[in-house]
């Protein structure tokens, strides 16, 4: 399974499914990461984690461990 964590900076992917549960999962979706949404991975933080995303016209940061819960294609 390919997840958002595997996407390289300045590449774009489309969300397939959100795993995880409860608060984290809800939060991910509330911020606009839902099925079919296009996400660009902009960059990785200087220390290697978290990563910066652009989606729905704004920038978001998320930890790699959480990005792993997001299946993309």
């Amino acid at each position: 399974m390919k997840t958002l964590k595997d996407i390289k900076p300045s590449e774009t992917a489309t969300v397939v499914k959100i795993y995880g549960e409860g608060r984290l999962r809800r939060r991910i979706m509330e911020m606009g990461i839902t099925k079919g949404c296009e996400i660009e991975v902009v960059k990785v933080a200087p220390l290697g984690d978290p990563i910066e995303l652009t989606l729905r016209g704004y920038d978001l940061t998320i930890r790699k461990a959480d990005a792993e819960q997001i299946e993309v294609e």
């Binding site: 949404c37 200087p46 910066e52 940061t61």
Partner: protein, 707 residues
């Protein structure tokens, strides 16, 4: 009757800016009951009968963070007459997610479409008419920054008060089928306006919504949710979130024209590409932090504070004493006024200059958008210690003074991280603790600089260890929220907002912490000035000396419990840490005492072994901070009970560390084995257990559930 209007919107949508424009200068700032989330309220400009309540910035009306709970409870239970929903027009899709939920609550709503200046500059066309029609509420274009559209907004919101406010937003017909079923199931149990809200929240399996409903109804609801999940082949919360975004997507596609579709790189994008880049991110971060340290702690800030403290101590207090003496006021009363009250007030306002400088710099960082990047850059280092990347700033500021250090933890979003930061910042030696270090280093260690350096290391180690320990104490600090954070676009800070926020924070400190500091200082002053017969005496014969004598045994295992002076000095350190040296000066009969206490190095050198002196230093660095800092911690933790826990934790940790150090050093130095070593070993084991066990605090949970 007063009309109440709630202001709701995403963080960074311009809420503060618009709130200032709507209310002018009539504002009341406080906290929401029971939590440390700021509550602001003000009169609507030009309308005597309308009041604006600023809700916290949120992305959704979920039941998770205190901010979200406050907002929905207010909208649902306090029934404001209207809602102004601020929407950042440059970021429509995500902002409208909250809007869909607000509309469902059934309160008349006006949308303030903010940042229109940016929209126009970027050549984006927004058809406000269409947007308004699709959402079923008024939409007013504004540029909060310049005050454009504000009077139209006020007119619009006044005109919707009292009107019917059913949400016109409709989702897919499948979902709407379940919404109708749900509404039918609960008809009569909730008010007609809020029916749609309850239905959707139940369909989403919201944890909090059930509180107001009967078990019977909840069981029925659950079966509807289950059949919906089956039918649509997705989890309930996923279904609702996707449907919301789908509707929003359609609305935005219909009413917004982004011009040529290619993504344009904005100025903000260009800034961000450099500021948080792989190679320059850390150097820029270091430079910004050094800038803060230099301006607030090395130069301007500390000059201001030193000047004001000197002025109070050397000019105001002697002048007042002279004046009272000439007026024939009794000695004890003059002492109370000058040393107790003026000295106490001085302890509060003396902090102000440095604090204001620090707040000014931090507010600028927040307003321009860099603060979020601090979290982005430092998250990796701090998160394993239960802290936020933003915790770096309080720790840095804490090197100057713990009070603004604690207060600057406010900018941390996560409540857990915020609380842990607020109660650990004061482990870092602040500038007022440096004289104590100089005293011990001078008296016992030949002025070795290593003493000071080691104290900073121990302080930082304490912050990190405490992070690991405290984050497991869930009944106290809560469960951390997921780190999924917006990186807002960079903005030029607005002078008015910056100045206002800075002064607000300074004032909050004076007002809230002020009374407590004043009382606490007056109490210690009283104890150290009078004996039990209420005669004015030297500190050596005072009540405090007796108290010191009767509790000094506590410090025997730490090596400095034989002489009461060390206990008394520790207590007066609560007023302000630099008092420790001054107290020794008085108790050991030095005529004058310099800052580092050279005059008494000999005495202390004779009374303490170096390891006892070091243990004394460890304890004094890390135990309860001064009253001013305790007052600041109270502000961030919200209650005296939690503040008490925090102070107890700090004292315990410092005691345990000093104990372990002293007892083992005693053996290593060849002074022999003291029986207390058993205590030291047990304490060490407990510490290791707290650091390594998965859930060491579950015992508290058990006690609570038994009670």
């Amino acid at each position: 009757m007063v009309i109440r209007i709630a202001l709701a919107g995403n963080p960074n949508s311009g809420k503060t800016t618009i709130f200032n424009k709507l209310t002018g200068s009539s504002q009341r700032v406080g906290n929401w009951p029971g939590v440390t989330v700021e509550r602001k309220e003000g009169k609507l400009r030009g309308k005597d009968n309308a009041k604006i309540v600023d809700l916290p910035g949120i992305y959704s009306l979920s039941p998770y963070s205190p901010e979200e709970i406050i907002s929905r409870d207010f909208l649902l239970n306090d029934q404001p007459d209207a809602v102004i929903n601020i929407v950042d027009a440059t970021n429509l899709e995500r902002n409208l997610y909250l809007t869909t939920q607000i509309l469902e609550i059934g309160i008349p709503t006006v949308i303030a479409l903010n940042m229109m200046d940016v929209v126009k500059k970027e050549n984006i066309q927004i058809d406000t008419e269409k947007l308004s029609e699709a959402l079923g509420c008024k939409v007013i274009e504004i540029t909060a920054l310049k005050g454009e559209g504000v009077s139209e907004l006020i007119d619009a919101v006044m005109s919707v008060v009292g009107t019917d406010a059913d949400s016109k937003l409709r989702y897919s017909s499948k979902l709407e089928g379940y919404v109708s079923k749900m509404e039918e199931a609960m008809r009569g149990s909730v008010s007609a306006e809020a029916e749609r809200w309850y239905a959707l929240k139940l369909l989403e399996r919201d944890e909090r919504i059930g509180k107001a409903l009967s078990a019977d109804l909840l069981a029925k609801a659950e079966s509807i949710v289950a059949s919906m999940e089956d039918d649509l082949d997705n989890d309930a919360d996923g279904i609702i979130a996707e449907e919301r975004y789908a509707v929003i997507g359609k609305i935005v596609a219909d009413s917004v024209d982004k011009g040529d579709r290619k993504k344009i790189e904005t100025t903000s994008d260009r800034i961000d590409r450099i500021v948080t880049s792989r190679w320059l991110g850390l150097p820029i971060f270091a430079a910004v932090m050094f800038g803060i340290y230099f301006i607030a702690i090395e130069t301007i800030g500390v000059w201001g504070t030193d000047w004001l403290n000197d002025y109070i101590g050397e000019t105001v207090m002697p002048a007042a004493a002279d004046w009272l003496g000439e007026a024939g006021v009794a000695d004890w009363l003059s002492g109370l006024i000058v040393d107790g009250i003026i000295g106490g007030v001085g302890a509060v306002v003396g902090f102000l200059p440095q604090m204001l400088v620090l707040f000014l710099l931090l507010v600028i960082l927040e307003e321009c958008g860099y603060m979020a990047r601090v979290a982005f850059v430092m998250d990796r280092v701090f998160r394993r210690f239960g802290l936020s990347g933003k915790s770096f700033i309080p720790v840095l500021v804490g090197m100057g003074c713990g009070v603004p250090g604690v207060m600057s933890s406010r900018s941390i979003e996560g409540e857990t991280e915020r609380k842990i930061t607020a109660m650990t910042v004061t482990f870092i030696p602040c500038s007022a603790k440096l004289p104590i270090i100089a005293l011990i280093a001078g008296a016992l260690f030949g002025q070795s600089a290593l003493v000071a350096v080691s104290m900073y290391f121990i302080g930082i180690a304490c912050v990190l260890m405490s992070g690991i320990i405290l984050k497991k104490w869930k009944s106290f600090v809560g469960t951390p929220s997921p780190f999924i954070m917006e990186l807002p676009a960079y903005h030029m800070p607005v002078v008015f907002n910056v100045v206002k926020s800075t002064l607000d924070r300074g004032w909050a400190f004076v007002k809230k912490a002020g009374t407590f500091i004043l009382l606490a200082c007056a109490l210690v002053w009283f104890l150290s000035t009078f004996d039990w017969g209420f005669n004015m005496v030297d500190a050596g014969e005072s009540m405090l000396a007796d108290i010191g004598n009767s509790i000094k045994w506590i410090f025997v295992p730490l090596g400095f419990g034989d002489d009461w002076e060390f206990t008394v000095a520790t207590i007066t350190g609560l007023l302000a840490k630099e008092n420790v040296v001054g107290t020794f000066g008085v108790l050991f009969g030095a005529e004058e005492i310099s800052e580092a206490g050279e005059e008494i190095w000999n005495v202390i050198g004779r009374m303490l072994t170096p390891i006892a002196g070091y243990a004394f230093l460890m304890f004094n660095m890390m135990c309860a901070p001064c009253f001013a800092a305790i007052g600041a911690i109270k502000r961030e933790l919200g209650s005296w009970k939690d503040t008490g826990k925090a102070v107890l934790y700090q004292c315990s940790l410092s005691y345990v560390l000093a104990l372990i150090f002293y007892q083992f050093a005693h053996v290593i130095k060849g002074y022999g084995v003291e029986p207390w070593i058993v205590l030291a070993i047990a304490a060490g084991a407990a510490l290791v257990y707290l650091l390594t066990a998965k859930d060491p605090f579950k015992i508290f949970g058990r006690i609570r559930s038994n009670a």
